[in-house]
Point group: C2
Chain length 559, copies 2
């Protein structure tokens, strides 16, 4: 799940780490100032917004946003770990519920396997263990006693689960077996960690299924991939490209990997969204998962056939992608469908000359507005904290990404309207109070779809079909991902990466690691192929390759 293949140069990495640390320290300091207690009812109008520009220092901006919007906290005790605070968990639980309902409809059942695996079962699938070995966390002691055999914390659960698939699957009647678990896994990354995107422990779901035939397994691979696309597109308002990973980039030990790939406009990088793997019969052969052929050939004895397996996972990475795409210099921008608070109502025009009676009456009206919205299915609340100006509150809720702000003052009351401000566009207007039950749900849906449309247009505009090699690097430099005719050979991919990597260590630009130093790698072979590739005729775009192109392949600098 967590992509382990972006490899900036070592010195660039060090630089980036130092900068990230500085940005985090700065953000932490700012956050501390921002939430100083209000003493003695004094107004506090400290700047609580984001202090780094998204355009100028994207990684610094990102770290400040997730920290100040109270999505994450750095776990100082052990590096590479993060605390997910309630606003993140709300999003994750919304996704969980949405996805869980849909896999239940596919008869996927929930299970819970232990978090540890023995080295013995791990070693059964060689390619698989090689893929994960460098990142395994080993428990070697319990209390003050050494364990006879050390155990590893699961990086993924194939090797934990499949010995039992072998035990439980005895007949074709036991197929399909479809189990899913929601848990956390540990991959002790040596590389720089980033909240949500690359963490040493992350939350995910992992589905593991077994089928009688390749066809049945393949059908499910795509059903699940479509659900992953749905999480991005329908909940997070994030566009993705569906496709298949190349041999080089597929899951270690699997047969083939399908993926949804995202795109971060700010730096032009691709990002793996979620993957649905067909494992083929590789694991069933290693773990001896067989059934008797239910339809043996005439005259032949029924033979044992190895089952076809899939595994598929979606992690909290999705939250990071969403933040990167929608956020702006004021902070987080949340799509309404996944925002715990969709509408915040802020009283305005209440001041020292307002009588206590008028204030109380006005607050009663806020309560009525809230209740009307709740009845209409809108997650709404008001902010009547004393000691803060409306402007301070506007900033605070903008930072936290609440999709819609309603302002309500005596002037609005006189006209029986509320004023609104959209978080995504800043657009303002008024709505008659009589209409809020219908207008506000509709407006929230419009915000949701506008956010998607905007992001989709950005991705579409930066997915460039390239047919001349010399156009590749300039396209990457212009923050595009590229579609090129490619032979799909692993060696050629290595070469392409090499050819697009700047050799010299570039100077810093605006405090960021200079992106062009990174070579491009294949993101996926999109299911939706551009026109113009003639099989047996079109050549692989790599000038040093010479082979024929198999497919249009999407390449890019990436996470």
């Amino acid at each position: 799940m967590v992509d382990a293949s972006a490899e900036p140069s070592k010195s660039a990495l060090k630089k980036a780490e130092k900068q990230a640390k500085m940005a985090a320290d700065k953000a932490a300091k700012a956050a501390k100032q921002a939430t100083l207690p209000v003493v003695g009812g004094k107004k506090t109008d400290d700047i609580i917004g984001i202090t780094v520009s998204k355009a100028e220092n994207f990684s610094g901006w990102y770290q400040e946003v997730v920290l100040k919007a109270e999505m994450i906290e750095y776990y100082n005790e052990i590096s590479g770990f993060f605390i997910l605070r309630p606003s993140s968990m709300y999003i994750w639980n919304t996704i969980r519920k949405w996805f869980q309902e849909r896999i239940e409809a596919l008869d996927v059942e929930e299970a819970s396997f232990p978090m540890f695996l023995s080295s013995k079962s791990l070693e059964k699938e060689k390619d698989h263990v090689e893929g994960f070995a460098p990142e395994l966390a080993w428990v070697t002691k319990a209390g003050d006693k050494d364990l006879e055999v050390p155990v590893a914390v699961r990086p993924t659960s194939e090797a934990v689960m499949y010995p039992y698939y072998s035990k439980w699957i005895r007949s074709h009647r036991d197929l399909p077996l479809r189990l899913n678990q929601w848990n956390s896994v540990v991959r002790w990354e040596a590389k720089q960690t980033t909240p949500f995107l690359r963490a040493r422990e992350f939350l995910w779901q992992e589905g593991h299924t077994a089928h009688l035939t390749e066809e049945l397994a393949g059908e499910e691979v795509l059903q699940i991939l479509e659900l992953y696309a749905g999480v991005y597109e329908q909940l997070l308002a994030v566009p993705v490209v569906r496709g298949r990973k190349t041999e080089k980039e597929k899951f270690a030990g699997g047969y083939y990997t399908t993926t949804v790939e995202g795109y971060i406009p700010s730096n032009g990088r691709g990002i793996q969204g979620a993957t649905s793997h067909c494992l083929g019969q590789n694991f069933s052969k290693m773990f001896d998962i067989t059934v008797e052929d239910p339809a043996p050939k005439a005259g032949e004895k029924a033979r044992h056939i190895h089952v076809w397996q899939n595994s598929w996972g979606l992690s909290t990475r999705v939250i990071g992608v969403m933040v990167m795409i929608h956020g702006d210099d004021k902070g987080l921008v949340l799509p309404p469908r996944i925002s715990k608070l969709q509408v915040v109502i802020i009283p305005v025009g209440i001041n020292k000359s307002t009588t206590p009676e008028d204030k109380a009456k006005h607050y009663d009206q806020l309560q009525e507005l809230k209740e009307t919205l709740k009845k209409a299915g809108v997650r709404a609340d008001y902010d009547i904290r004393d000691g803060y100006t409306p402007a301070w509150k506007f900033n605070d809720w903008e930072l936290k990404g609440v999709p819609l702000r309603l302002e309500y003052g005596p002037k609005d009351a006189a006209k029986s309207v509320v004023s609104f401000a959209r978080r995504d566009t800043g657009e303002k207007g008024t709505i008659a109070i009589a209409d809020i039950s219908t207008e506000i749900p509709a407006l929230l849906e419009k915000i949701q779809s506008d956010m998607y449309t905007k992001a989709e247009a950005a991705f579409r505009a930066h997915r460039i079909v390239i047919t001349k090699w010399e156009d590749v690097v300039p396209a990457l430099d212009a923050k595009n991902v590229v579609l090129i005719p490619h032979c799909l050979a692993e060696k050629c991919e290595d070469k392409v990466k090499d050819l697009t990597t700047s050799k010299q260590d570039e100077p810093e630009v605006a405090g960021e690691m200079k992106a062009p130093s990174m070579g491009m790698k294949s993101l996926c072979v999109p299911f939706e192929q551009p026109e113009g590739l003639v099989k047996g005729e079109t050549k692989c775009l790599n000038p040093e390759c010479g082979a024929l192109a198999e497919k249009w392949c999407m390449f890019g600098r990436s996470y």
Copy 2:
């Protein structure tokens, strides 16, 4: 959560372990036979039921039930770990949903903290670390490199979370802070493990909250305890006694512990159900969690006060308690509210002389029955597996504990009725098809309440008020827990345990560890106290004590 204080003698333990292993092997063998594939459509009427009597060999019976009913699987790779299969996870998720809704109503928010803790933060609270140190699993290596500082897998998260409570709580406005997480924890028990009851890893929820005053904290402790009682009583049909743990039995490092205590009639043992702790200011002092006093005394400067903290947890242990209480020699008996399948419909009277048309028509009627029940909110399905007799299917669903079986054959169809059989009592009858939408939901609720009533009566009958010391051991031997006047001193509790422990190694009785070898320990001081204890007059029942009794205390042999 997982009670770590039952201590049978060493030889008894070894014997019990050996017997448990034998029972498990036998059960595994039986399970294997039971699920042999049906080859060539032949009828398979192997005995699939439980082979051990609950009355004669309780622990063997329990292990066979949880294995054969497909609730758990032993994780052979690492001892002391168990796999929770879908039928267990359904129950756990039902509990989770029920509890989550209710804590959300209390404004408890969800968070996710890392699974590892550094030794540094662990060492802050001395009593706490001493309590958990022998059971900590230590990660010392990542990949092939030794970690500079080893990290432990959380046994509970006080030491993981509270450094951040110190950071996040700056003002009394930040109180109460209430966070909960659903996760798994690891306690590397040296003692014998048992599915659900005592495992080296278990699922639970852990709530951690901070309040301004002792009173506010104490209020929440009881609100949560009442929810835990609700999980047992309302969902699992298991009666519990609410009370407070003695000083000896309270949470390590806490202020006081409240508990719900259950009772297993088969062996007369008490079992801790779930605990809600007030931590007092112990942890807030160690982790420096303070706020400025919002109501300083007149003329005095506002001083910093340490917050009052609670922690509370409910684990998958609840499932084991439920199995032990309701199960019988046919297998699992599930309360309808937590059973994934509430009603199974089995066609009867379909045989070789039935025409294909009649069979198809009959199966269409099964589908109609199922749909009618689903519309009435009943989780129903039919079993039309070919190659199994109705009797085999009856056994299979009884083993799995489905609360209500409906039998439906041509004779029932002719009378427009369905026949039913209750899993809990075996009671049979018929219901007019026209009435099933109302009668069956009502019958399920009756089963739920009858199961509770029966278990409640058993617990009540075996909770004996004792006022003579010489009555204690005979009462324990008659499978009771006892209520005795007690001084509540830790030393006296040790003595009571000692005095009630048989010194000699008793001979085996019916293949089980002879229960009387175990001494009794305090379960709780029930909130609901019997009459008759005169403060300053009634003496502690321990004949070697001599101090005055403080309260009626519930003692028993226990898990």
